[in-house]
Symmetry: C2
Subunit: 817 residues, 2 copies
């Protein structure tokens, strides 16, 4: 199937415009930096903080030439990964700088789009929210990868933020073909979404600045007497504010109205981003339907679980005798990152660490973002909405997964207060790409890891986070396999390969790791750290523990969806369920006596009517993706098994009021659909903008299609039910906040592939001493690894690099990092 | 409560006997070594292989002085763990050599016991199966640990193998007090077992040698024509046998009869212990009730799922036209350990590894087996039945667990053939202690780990496995916690501490790891490798995959029970269940509209009537052990949460025919009982000898006792449902054969304790470069680690060291290793 769009119609006239952008940059740099440090509006603050960062010119510190890359070289032979040529183009990675610049320029030349550059745009202008590669359709791409098909034609996926209208909306459009020539056209991008609305979705929060300046701060000002009395502070939008105001996401979308609940927070006074730990327990509701603030209405106030219908009613009650005033949550050492408490015995001695004495044992095509380790290879893709994805994952020359990557992350809260009760973050709205910050060497990844950069589009600039993907091998603390007898012991090292990225979506840090093992197993792991978003602890005992003075560890479910497009020896695959079941059974050798035992039950899932699955009771049902046409020599279906490697979770809430139809993907553990080019994503980043009728309603994927030997996509949920306790202060710890699945070869080869490694030994012994030591040709080199303090390297931390795309000058010193 | 036994009665006369043992050792050394190499009767072979090993004199290679200990010193400063003095005696560890020798001598002086030394004993003699420390009762020990109580009086737990009678039986007795003086007495040890039978349990396999020489080999000989025709081999008990015969465990115990099923196996021809992969598909049933082989009866034969009632009937059918002959499983490279297949790209380069540049950061009292790391400390205990246990685990000076250790491991098979269908190994029968072999440095544990020895009693000798417990710190491949913003990034290293042992019970290698984390979390992990026990693949498709020529990956459940005797701030604890549940709910701020959301439900388990638990659907119910009398300053109960960290399993089979009442502990995931000194173990190693009325019937622990603020014991099951596939050949891999739980502080402290470590950094950045790097006082030393090939060290592998206990000579060169 080809890309089901037509580019023959549309606009053909080209308007090449020169410099629309001025040089009005970086004029509020100090203030914005201050704001970022002081305020944490959780995810709600993200859009603003990036906006402010995009106004910062890169300094000369790294502006001249390439930034430093990778860890410093120790002794031994610290060789970097070998540079190789990928066998094919990476058709998924992203646009080149030239392509992005050309598309931007071309778009600004389309009068019908009525675009304004970001720097010049106000809330009533149309802007470009995103220019990215439109990933080619799988069907077309397979022709290229496996056959004689041409490189798929490239198109840009553009997302417009059309606010020059009362009906503010986002619009996904396709622009191409690339490179931009006189034949370039644009048209609505509709086919990848279940909702057929010309790729448009309303923007329920188009007036962010006005919302604060004309509404939230004014409401806050209207009760400044109370905020001063309660907390000795105000939230007025001034430099010396000590209070902040922010609230729910998604907004309530009921009966055609857009309703928001907001609440007061103390600002962090340290420099630790602890704002989400400082709720103050006063909430207000407002109807903000439409774009005219004069039509917006305050609908009530809530304090100590008492609802007041008007500000006046609240004020009157507040200043009445007997009004119960509650305590505040105030920043302090308890809420800050950094070392605290007595130093532990011997902790100032250097702890163990992993080293790579012989350098990298994997190969990379840095330009094409292609990686090869042992018998695995894959291409890396990266985008704004979901960050890192892997494509064309091959094992021993055969594709196992066409695509593997995050689709969406939900954090669904519950509480007795209206703000926490209404929060159900769909994090692709904020985007995983822009928040994949530079990784901290020796801490986020081993000191010898190698790194790749990632980029994202923002306001006519390409931002690059240097060293934001890391690649490394690691020797696990346990072997891959072993066996002992009274005669010998044989043990195999467990050296695996990891690709990692971390995205910090406001308060929370998600660490994503893709692990590759010598036995052919692929692991997908997510760990969560960072700050919890807390609730005010009053009348909230059914929704979390009290963890500080007036603080509730607000209960929430994390559910993260991953797409795993398996292709086991071709695209014709089937889901096999193999269950271990108790049975009472007679046997030929046991007369008519029955025995209580167990047996296997194997079942193929026939269609999407039966393909929304949960991990079974006592783990008794295995989920396999097999190719029934590719049996091994013993007649068993070759395949991969999917198994949880640590806790997983799907959403507890049934028919969530917050989410409506926006996240039906979160309702089961493992869901399987027939692959379609028109169902590429489980979610849309703006599903939160229209939760009843979202752009992508995952449930609509399930329409009874056959799953019998056809191209399958597995949608997997990782996650955890998080009931934060005192141990989540100041930050949640990765030790237990961990979820993972593994894909394990199942009757796929004829034996364990880890037997191929030479990093194993066998020792024969007899009578109390070794009689033979076999090392199978492994390296016996002796060398010295010089360990040096990490601090010097940490001073090389950069943050990000920005390349201006419009107006665009490839000779600009910031070009290409 | 004191030890509820009386030592005032019993035997008081002492008969001090000199050398009862001759020097009739080591006369069949060559043959036995040969047998061990060639034969693998799975667990069934274990007793024999140890027997043969105990006849081997230690060679002079290590006989002179202490064996080498620990890894060689690299550069930097590879300091060993600091030697410290434990605050208390390790009252759980074991008997001293002197104590064991004294007890042995004393026992041989008791005419009423009618004991014969192992070397001189035949099948109709009474022998000493075990001399170990009787661990003191908890109640008494707490007085010693926490108060002014004396060191608990020491007693020896002795297990007699009384075969000088038609009614062969094992007898547990207590001997003491120690040291042995004129006041020493013995008496039946009955109080720790639910069955009150004077500590006795029948021995259903007392005649192992006769069973082979007079029964199995003769039956095999009776159809030598067929075995030669089918497999060109015989099993006659001769040097040149190429076939082996072994069968079920436990034996069938029905209507007063003892029935066994045995089958033919090819012997391994390589030196890889692959016998359990070579079943041949011919089975025979015999009634072996009683000790007179003349009364034993062949009850039938099974081949290709056709049952023949007599040998004659089988032979007649076999030699009839049209008899279907099935293929054999034959040893070969597919079944052998060692490197196989093409060498992978760059695999001959040295892979990454972990190093400890500044040496050990923990402390050990080597003699008392006491370990201290950061804010954790514990004592190590080790015994024959279950191997490693930890006692008095303290965190920040407070006991968290009084006891933590393995209780039993079940491997319950299912198949269409009578042997695999009837196998349900209860591995403490074989014992985890004797099979905790020396660990392979750099492979089983990091190269810098430190080690402790373990010992076990066998046939009047103490065997020592040097370096069979390892201790190490490890820096995980992921941090403990992190947070990023647009201004800073802060990341904490995740350095944890591990105590590990591996026990290889016949074909299977169980790796047990106890992990301690900076945030106060304790992890218990088991991984399984080694050889599967396979089934013959004929008519067996409902019980496993075909994985080789005529081979079934015989399905089985692994269930491993651990005792976790929690003491959270004292012994008065309660089980709290906190569930995340979906609710439809109204709120004060939402009029009469309901919202679909979720909330917490907290419930205390009142009694043992409700304390047999399974991990809940979607992980929505958390299990906590809390102390309701010890609330934190916010009023929350301080406690620990128990959570699965990777897959767990309980037994699939309901009311197992094989097990009857022998393993009711395997039926749930988490079970909680009131602690009693008389319920110290979930199982007895000889439960397999009387499955209907076993010495310890775990179900009887549940008798409705209160669990409300009382001393609790949690019995946890780890495990997996194992349906072996081709990837289990030759050995199962640890990558996915993994089960674990974690104990995580829950509202236990007021914040995350990992904030105490100095091994964290914070980098502030602005405008593309770092502005501050804080390293919190961590070590900034520069040093070089010299890496050398591991091979030299591997040549130091010893196996084990034997100390003779009777007759006993402390001046013997083998004394004390």
């Amino acid at each position: 199937m080809k890309l089901p769009i037509s580019l023959s119609g549309g606009i053909t006239s080209l308007l090449l415009i020169g410099s629309l952008a001025g040089d009005v940059l970086a004029n509020k740099l100090d203030k914005s930096a201050q704001a970022v440090r002081q305020k944490n509006r959780g995810r709600k603050a993200l859009m603003r903080s990036l906006e402010s960062r995009s106004n910062q010119h890169p300094s000369s510190h790294w502006g001249h030439g390439k930034p430093p890359h990778g860890p410093p070289a120790p002794t031994c032979e610290d060789t970097p990964p070998q540079e190789i040529d990928a066998p094919k183009e990476n058709v998924w990675y992203g646009l080149t700088d030239d392509e992005t610049a050309a598309v931007a320029k071309w778009l600004f030349g389309r009068p019908e789009l009525n675009l304004t550059t970001s720097e010049n745009a106000g809330e009533w202008d149309n802007t470009i929210a995103l220019i990215e590669l439109q990933r080619p359709n799988k069907t077309e791409t397979l022709d290229y990868l496996d056959g004689s098909g041409p490189v798929p034609t490239r198109y840009a996926h553009v997302r417009l933020n059309n606010r020059a209208t009362v009906d503010a909306h986002y619009a996904d459009i396709l622009v191409g073909p690339l490179p931009i020539t006189g034949n370039a056209t644009w048209e609505p991008l509709e086919f990848p979404y279940t909702r057929k609305s010309q790729g448009r979705v309303r923007n329920v929060e188009p007036d962010d600045e006005t919302m604060y300046s004309e509404w939230l701060f004014k409401i806050s000002a209207s009760i400044a007497d109370i905020t001063l009395d309660l907390w000795n502070g105000t939230a007025l939008g001034l430099e010396n504010d000590t209070l902040d105001v922010w609230g729910i996401d998604p907004l309530w979308q009921e009966d055609g109205r857009i309703i928001r609940w907001d609440m007061f927070w103390n600002m962090a006074t340290g420099e630790s981003d602890s704002g989400t730990l400082l709720p103050l327990g006063l909430y207000f509701k407002s109807d903000v339907t439409g774009r005219d603030p004069a039509q917006w209405k305050v609908l009530g106030w809530l304090y100590n679980d008492i609802f007041y219908e008007t500000t006046e009613e609240f004020r009157e009650a507040y200043w009445s005798p007997g009004f119960v005033k509650l305590g505040a949550n105030v920043d302090g050492p308890w809420a800050r990152v950094g070392q605290q408490g007595p130093v532990l015995p011997k902790d100032t001695k250097q702890p163990p660490l992993s080293v790579a004495p012989d350098g990298a044992r994997y190969s990379v095509d840095t330009e094409r973002k292609y990686v090869s380790w042992m018998d695995f290879s894959f291409y890396i893709s990266f985008n704004r909405d979901t960050g890192l994805s892997l494509f064309d994952i091959k094992y021993k020359g055969q594709r196992v997964l066409y695509e593997l990557g995050l689709q969406e992350a939900l954090a669904h809260y519950a509480a007795n207060d209206p703000v926490q009760s209404s929060v159900a973050y769909l994090d692709s709205y904020y985007g995983f790409g822009p928040y994949a910050f530079e990784l901290l060497k020796g801490y986020d990844c081993p000191s010898y890891a190698s790194y790749l950069n990632t980029s994202f589009y923002k306001s006519e600039e390409t931002h690059t986070h240097v060293d934001s993907l890391c690649l490394f091998e690691f020797d696990a603390d346990y072997p891959a396999a072993r066996h002992s007898t009274s005669d010998f012991v044989a043990v195999t090292k467990n050296v695996y390969f990891t690709l990692r990225t971390v995205s910090t979506i406001g308060n929370y840090d998600y660490m994503f790791s893709y692990n590759f093992h010598m036995d052919g197993t692929i692991g997908v792991e997510v760990r969560a750290s960072g700050y919890i978003q807390s609730a005010y602890y009053a009348n909230n005992q059914d929704f979390g523990y009290q963890i500080h003075d007036s603080l509730s560890g607000s209960m929430h479910d994390h559910v993260l969806n991953f797409k795993a497009d398996f292709d086991i020896l071709g695209t014709d695959n089937t889901v096999e369920l193999t269950s271990v079941v108790p049975v009472e059974k007679t046997f030929s050798w046991n007369g008519n006596k029955t025995r209580n035992t167990m047996q296997l039950e194997r079942k193929m899932i026939e269609s999407e009517d039966d393909s929304r699955l949960n991990w079974s009771f006592n783990g008794q049902t295995q989920i396999h993706i097999v190719n029934q046409d590719e049996k091994n020599k013993y007649g068993e279906n070759r395949g991969y098994r999917i198994l949880p490697s640590s806790g997983t979770a799907h959403l507890t809430v049934k028919n969530s009021t917050n989410l409506a139809n926006a996240a039906h993907w979160a309702e089961y553990d493992v869901q399987v659909t027939q692959q379609h080019d028109y169902e590429p994503f489980a979610a849309h980043p703006y599903n939160s903008q229209d939760v009843h009728d979202p752009p992508v309603d995952f449930e609509q994927f399930f329409n009874g299609e056959s799953l019998n030997q056809t191209d399958l996509v597995v949608w997997l949920n990782l996650g955890m039910h998080h009931v934060p306790h005192t141990g989540d202060l100041p930050n949640t710890v990765f030790t237990t906040a961990h979820s993972g699945v593994q894909f394990m070869p199942l009757n796929y080869l004829l034996g364990d592939a880890s037997r191929q490694t030479v990093n194993m030994v066998r020792v024969d012994y007899f009578n109390g001493s070794a009689t033979a030591v076999e090392t199978f040709g492994q390296s016996d080199e002796t060398c010295g690894v010089k360990l040096s303090p990490i601090e010097d390297e940490l001073w090389a931390y950069q943050g990000d690099v920005i390349v201006r795309k419009f107006p665009y000058d490839p000779n600009d010193p910031f070009y290409e990092t």
